[in-house]
């Protein structure tokens, strides 16, 4: 074992390697788990290798540096299609994937959220299904994920202190009668942990975190993996096709390298973790005479059931200063509304979490399309503004889906993904409830006015290659293994059967740890 963080070099014709596509929460974790068990991995990352010192504490500069800006199109009645027609999702194209942009909230799924169909019953227009695993199956992996990520309030990790935005949020919660509020669980160090320093409350969680206090695969799993000497990390390597043998096993990946040249890496196993838009797109681009509707798509569910969580923000104005931009952006959660309680008029639940944007992003997202005095009033008194975000379970719908748009091509000449989304009535009822509770909360601590901000481009992209017990209901089994192709795995949020209320990163990491164990076991038994 070398102590140097240097990429191994595996031969392009080495068919003993596992190729992992995407270096975020799913792919970065899977690669790390595999190399620590002695498996050789080639990790393909479409974006550049940005490190902490490269990140900008400037919202637009950071966005232009990190965001996935390859062309995409949108359709459907969701407001993002009107306001941001070419930016359906706000995710990252760089080593570490969207773990470099996420803010850090790590709630677990609840037991009944793995049984959404049984618990909620039949809901018109929703393609609900129970997961093939339970909370008990995942609980030990949640423990390991929380330790890996250093979640506060868990396994002895101390809580982060209250920042100004949290003081407003928590006092409002308490006055409404909520009891389940805290500054976490949140995967950012309150004290030094795992070789990384304590938070200096510098804000800019969405911009990569220069201080390394926030967990990401870029600061944790990637460097640890490089030190094993078994990880061949290839940044600027954009996978465009997964190839297969005549017998229907995958045998390699074609990608475009940093010079723009096509390369082929042979593989024993391929794991796809490109986030829930690129993952189904890649499998669709890999269609062949043997798999005419896309690789691993005999169910017809590939690309369908796209979920994005029911979200929305509430920004409130006070008479006195808040300075929401100072400190950890999302270190504040309220869990009282995360329950399933149909008396509220909808199924499933949602979390309320602190959020803060700088003036540049607030202007673009607080009320897209807005102008005039009503709009500028939302920016005035910036100092006296507090913010919260709601994130809750949305309904999987077959018609919410990723397809290839063959009329628009990207710089590689490939059809871009189209993201179609319509809100379900349940999503709308939940969002309205969240907006009302958010307004009540801020009014309880003296808000002069509150504004209901529509959902941002999606950060929680889920469900487009979902897990199912039966091959006809989904794309992968309980280990993320394709029903149709035994040596093909899906390792990101695409495999979520339903979305639950919780921020998804912790669950993606837990599933990747479990998947790695299964892969190693199957390899040892020569089944893979």
């Amino acid at each position: 074992m070398s102590s140097k963080e240097q990429s191994a070099v595996h031969d392009h014709d080495d068919d003993s390697v596992v190729v992992v596509i995407g270096s975020g929460a799913g792919g970065g974790t899977l690669a790390h788990e595999l190399v620590t068990k002695g498996v050789k991995v080639v990790l393909l990352e479409a974006g550049p290798y940005l490190k902490n010192e490269d990140y900008h504490q400037d919202e637009w500069a950071a966005f232009n540096q990190m965001a996935w800006l390859d062309p995409r199109t949108t359709s459907g009645s969701w407001r993002v299609a009107r306001d941001f027609p070419n930016l359906p999702a706000w995710i990252v194209k760089a080593v570490g994937g969207t773990t470099t942009h996420w803010s850090g909230a790590t709630p677990r799924f609840k037991a009944h959220e793995f049984k959404a169909r049984s618990t909620y019953g039949r809901i018109d227009g929703a393609n609900l299904l129970d997961w093939p695993i339970s909370l008990d199956d995942l609980a030990p992996y949640y423990d390991r994920a929380e330790k890996k990520m250093g979640s506060t309030h868990r396994h002895g990790r101390p809580a982060l202190p209250a920042n100004n935005n949290y003081k407003v949020f928590a006092n409002g919660a308490q006055r409404l009668g909520y009891r389940q509020y805290a500054t976490g669980p949140y995967a950012t160090n309150a004290e030094p942990y795992d070789g990384r320093p304590a938070s200096i409350q510098d804000g800019f969680n969405f911009q990569g975190d220069k201080n390394k206090s926030k967990w990401s695969t870029m600061v944790s799993e990637i460097p640890k993996s490089l030190r094993t000497g078994l990880l061949d990390l290839r940044p600027d390597s954009h996978a465009v096709q997964v190839t297969h043998t005549a017998a229907g096993k995958v045998d390699g990946v074609i990608y475009i390298d940093s010079e723009g040249n096509p390369q082929r890496q042979k593989a024993r196993i391929v794991a796809v973790a490109g986030n829930s838009i690129e993952t189904p797109r890649l499998l669709m681009l890999s269609a062949s005479p043997l798999f005419p509707d896309g690789l691993a798509n005999s169910s017809g569910q590939l690309g369908r059931n796209y979920m994005r969580h029911t979200t929305g923000s509430v920004y409130a104005k006070f008479d006195r200063p808040v300075n929401m931009h100072r400190g950890e952006t999302m270190a504040g959660l309220i869990a009282d509304e995360s329950r399933h309680d149909p008396d509220r008029g909808f199924c499933g639940g949602y979390y309320m979490e602190t959020i803060a944007l700088g003036p540049a992003f607030l202007a673009s997202f607080v009320e897209p399309g807005g102008w005039g005095p009503e709009f500028t009033a939302l920016l005035d008194d910036y100092l006296n503004t507090a913010g919260m975000w709601i994130t809750g379970e949305d309904m999987p719908q077959e018609s919410n889906r990723i397809t290839l748009n063959s009329t628009v091509t990207d710089r590689l000449g490939l059809p871009v993904p189209n993201v179609h989304f319509d809100d379900h009535a349940n999503d709308l009822a939940m969002r309205s409830h969240g907006y009302q509770q958010g307004s009540l909360l801020f009014e309880a601590v003296g808000a002069r006015s509150t504004h209901h901000t529509p959902p941002y481009p999606s950060t929680h992209n889920l469900g487009t290659a979902r897990m199912s017990e039966r091959a006809e209901d989904g794309v992968v089994n309980q280990f993320g293994q394709a029903h149709d192709v035994s040596n093909l795995f899906i390792s990101d949020g695409s495999q979520f059967t339903t979305g639950a209320a919780a921020n998804p990163t912790l669950t993606i990491v837990a599933l990747a740890i479990r998947q790695a164990e299964y892969i190693v076991e199957q390899m040892a038994q020569a089944k893979l």
């Binding site: 389940q180 500028t376 309205s432 504004h451």
Partner: protein, 192 residues
């Protein structure tokens, strides 16, 4: 509509001084902030002219839009008070030239250092050691809240066993009905 060939003035590459003044006035009226100095607004005028140079379509739309604004009121646009100027702009809000101005201003005005300073935003903080010793928790008009979890189990399903102030839907509680639809509560995108 744009008539590039018929009216040669519309093909002008440079805006007249008056057209610039009209543009600055549009930006001021569309994005009024009493506490902002003139500098950022003037820079937005330059930014829009600069951005329009990159597209013949935007340049033509902008030139014509600025020239025709006067036809929408009896007096000269530059002489209208704020409220009447705003009313004129509301009539052109759906036109491409105005959408172009609006987009460009939203993307750039609030990124301007002078604007951020006027709003009290402190920007980059890493080089100053973050806010750990510079006021991340200096809010003193509310009590110090608990930061630990409550220790009570979180209710997974059904109504809470304790009272919470809540918006109460008055109509049926059928799970998938949009029970909030007709109740007169504020909708997304509104302020109360």
């Amino acid at each position: 509509m744009v008539f590039p060939a018929k009216y040669s003035s519309l093909n002008a590459l440079e805006l007249s001084d008056e057209a610039r003044r009209i543009l600055t006035r549009i930006i001021r009226v569309s994005f009024p902030h009493a506490q902002f100095p003139d500098g950022p607004y003037e820079r937005m005028t330059e930014k829009i002219i600069e951005a329009s140079a990159e597209s013949s379509w935007f340049r033509m739309a902008l030139t014509q839009g600025l020239m025709t604004l006067d036809t929408l009121s009896e007096e000269h646009f530059l002489e209208l008070p704020d409220d009447r100027a705003l009313a004129v702009l509301k009539r052109v809000a759906d036109l491409e030239f105005f959408a172009f101005i609006r987009r460009t201003v939203v993307l750039n005005l609030y990124d301007d250092p002078e604007v951020q300073q006027a709003l009290g935003y402190e920007g980059e903080s890493f080089s100053k050691g973050g806010y750990i010793n510079r006021g991340f928790n200096d809010l003193d008009w509310l009590p110090e809240p608990r930061i630990e979890e409550s220790g009570e189990p979180i209710q997974d399903q059904g109504p809470l066993p304790y009272a919470v102030t809540a918006y109460a839907p008055e109509t049926s509680s059928k799970p998938v009905d949009n029970v909030l639809g007709d109740s007169g509560i504020i909708e997304e995108g509104s302020t109360r």
